[in-house]
């Protein structure tokens, strides 16, 4: 039995990562873990872009690679703000658990 790593393998891994991340956002109790789940989703997207560019595109067109780089940068910005918010909320509540963020009705 031969097993070749083709486009569908990458897409499958991407879809699994994305689903894991989506599950983590709703299931994780710690807000840091929720932010990590979001990173997982964004990396699934990156994997998709890179795989599509590699297997479908013309090698000289780098749209997918460039998009992946943009996403990495923006994800870093997002997480920087997110962690800053976690610190500021930790100062008032001494907790990073999503269950404690209930001052506003959810």
């Amino acid at each position: 039995m031969s097993f070749s790593v083709g486009l569908s393998t990458y897409l499958l891994v991407g879809a699994m990562l994305f689903s894991l991340g989506l599950y983590g956002i709703f299931a994780k109790k710690n807000v840091i873990a929720v932010l990590m789940s979001i990173e997982l989703m964004l990396n699934a997207v990156n994997l998709n872009f890179v795989a599509f560019n590699r297997f479908l595109g013309n090698e000289s067109v780098l749209h997918g690679f460039v998009t992946a780089v943009f996403i990495i940068v923006l994800a870093a910005a997002e997480v920087a703000v997110g962690l800053a918010l976690v610190i500021s909320i930790y100062r008032t509540r001494k907790s990073t658990s999503v269950d404690d963020f209930n001052w506003l009705k959810w």
Binding site: V31, I38, E78, L85
Partner: protein, 480 residues
């Protein structure tokens, strides 16, 4: 690359420069010596607004940067909307910002940065450009939402907005990656030409993901859960700007992506069914959930959910008339919201409460504020002599002419329902006693904003033609 391309970007470059200037002033000049931030922001935004008005009527239009950016009347119309909203917010929030403990300068810089993100969103001709604009807007808003550092509610709202916003962006991006896989491009024009007529399951999946991402930003019903919390927790000027501009920005992108790229293809059938259900749900749930609210900002959140439903009705019409309705309604919604939130931002610090019952007797304590709030909410409800009625008329008549009369009927009935909760505020203000609550006279820039918003709302209700003409020109400029 021609020099023309950079001319097309002039407003964005000017806005970015204004952001950096404000940021530099905020960092270099000590907090005590800083005075002119608000006037500087106002005049900067006015200058950019003036340039775009000139641009709208006289400039040479066309796609710039090989189709990665659109420079057309549609984008210009939305840029005018964002700048007008930002100006109104900056004008009425002066007193509110002065009460913030620290970091006042950065507030204006972030507000202008969010405006820049929206302008990019309105002009984006490439899904990557669109995503960058969306993130610039979202991240700026996250920081703005949690701007009250010692207020736990504000921080919590900011974190919720960030987590849910990032999740929505990730879902949107997954949709974009699927579209890239299907067409080999992220440019809207190329996507439209390469999609062809085959409606594959992956295209449907991609569309649903895109719709979920945009649906979060415009608070369509299954994705609206964030709105009440964030509207309540955020500082009032930020809530106002979220309601007025961020929704309109997401609609600009949605219209561009759907009507230009996807609707022209085989997607039409499946997509319209989905949009119809979402629009009906949004109008029904938004209006019904607004009724039991006791906090005015929470009520306005559900009201804004309902307004997103009305706007979506115009998108469903898929015609110039429908897009014109959306543009017109989004613009008058800015002025109605400016009236409401200017009053909230004025009343909230004086009596430290957003509860509707604390608006009792406002007609006696602050007659102007009560009058402005009344006119604004009646415009949102669509009472005839006011602008909201004309806007709803355009939206619903556009969708009726395409054959989906029932959605217009749902919208009509739900507008009737909305009169109930809007009038409940008016009743409290005019019939309530309000014993022991302070007198709160309005003055300065806040007074100007309230009067201006009210006058525009009344004027456009009586004489909507100029704005309607502008909206129609903008709708026709969309490339199809």
């Amino acid at each position: 690359m021609q020099s023309f391309d950079f001319v097309a970007l002039t407003p964005e470059i000017a806005t970015a420069a204004l952001t950096l200037i404000l940021l530099a002033i905020g960092m270099l000049i000590p907090a005590g010596a800083r005075r002119g931030m608000q006037p500087l922001t106002v005049f900067g935004l006015l200058g950019i607004l003036g340039y775009i008005l000139y641009d709208l009527f006289y400039a040479k239009m066309g796609p710039a940067f090989q189709g990665m950016y659109f420079h057309d009347q549609f984008a210009d119309f939305f840029k005018i909307l964002f700048l007008a909203a930002a100006l109104l917010v900056v004008l009425f929030s002066g007193a509110y910002i002065q009460k913030l403990p620290a970091y006042r300068g950065e507030f204006y810089a972030l507000l202008v940065a969010a405006t820049l993100g929206m302008m990019i969103l309105a002009g984006a001709g490439d899904l990557l450009t669109l995503y960058v604009g969306l993130e610039l807007m979202t991240i700026s808003f996250c920081i703005l939402v949690c701007y009250l550092p010692n207020n736990g509610g504000s921080c919590e709202a900011g974190l919720k907005y960030l987590v849910l916003g990032a999740a929505a962006s990730a879902i949107l991006l997954y949709g974009i990656s699927l579209i890239y896989g299907l067409t080999g491009s992220t440019q809207l024009a190329q996507i439209a030409s390469r999609l062809g007529d085959n409606l594959s399951p992956s295209l449907i999946l991609a569309t649903v993901f895109l719709l979920a991402g945009f649906g979060f930003k415009i608070s369509l019903v299954p994705f609206h859960m964030w709105a009440p919390d964030i509207y309540e927790g955020a500082p009032t000027p930020v809530t106002a700007y979220l309601a007025m501009a961020s929704k309109a920005a997401a609609f600009a992108a949605l219209i561009r992506v759907y009507l230009v790229t996807l609707e022209s293809q085989s997607f039409a059938q499946a997509g319209v069914a989905l949009l119809l259900i979402l629009a009906a749900l949004t109008m029904i749930v938004g209006n019904l959930m607004a009724i039991p609210q006791t906090n005015i900002k929470r009520m306005m959140a559900f009201s804004s959910v309902a307004q997103a439903g009305y706007l979506l009705v115009g998108v469903i019409a898929e015609s110039n008339a429908g897009v014109k309705g959306v543009l017109f309604y989004a613009m008058i919604y800015v002025f109605a919201n400016a009236g409401v939130f200017a009053v909230i931002a004025h009343v909230e610090p004086a009596q430290d409460s957003d509860e509707i019952k604390d608006y009792a007797g406002l007609a006696r304590r602050s007659p102007l504020a009560a009058a402005v709030l009344t006119v604004s909410v009646l415009s949102m409800a669509g009472i005839p002599p006011l602008a909201g009625f004309v806007g709803k008329f355009y939206l619903f008549s556009a969708v009726m002419s395409t054959g989906y009369s029932w959605i217009a009927f749902v919208g009509f009935v739900m507008s009737m329902v909305s009169v109930y909760y809007y009038l409940s505020i008016v009743r409290v203000m005019y019939l309530g006693e309000g014993e022991g609550l302070p007198e709160i006279p309005v003055y300065g820039a806040a007074k100007f904003t309230m009067l201006f918003a009210m006058l525009i709302t009344v004027f456009l209700g009586i004489y909507p033609t100029p704005l309607a003409q502008m909206a129609l020109t903008a709708a026709k400029s969309l490339v199809r």
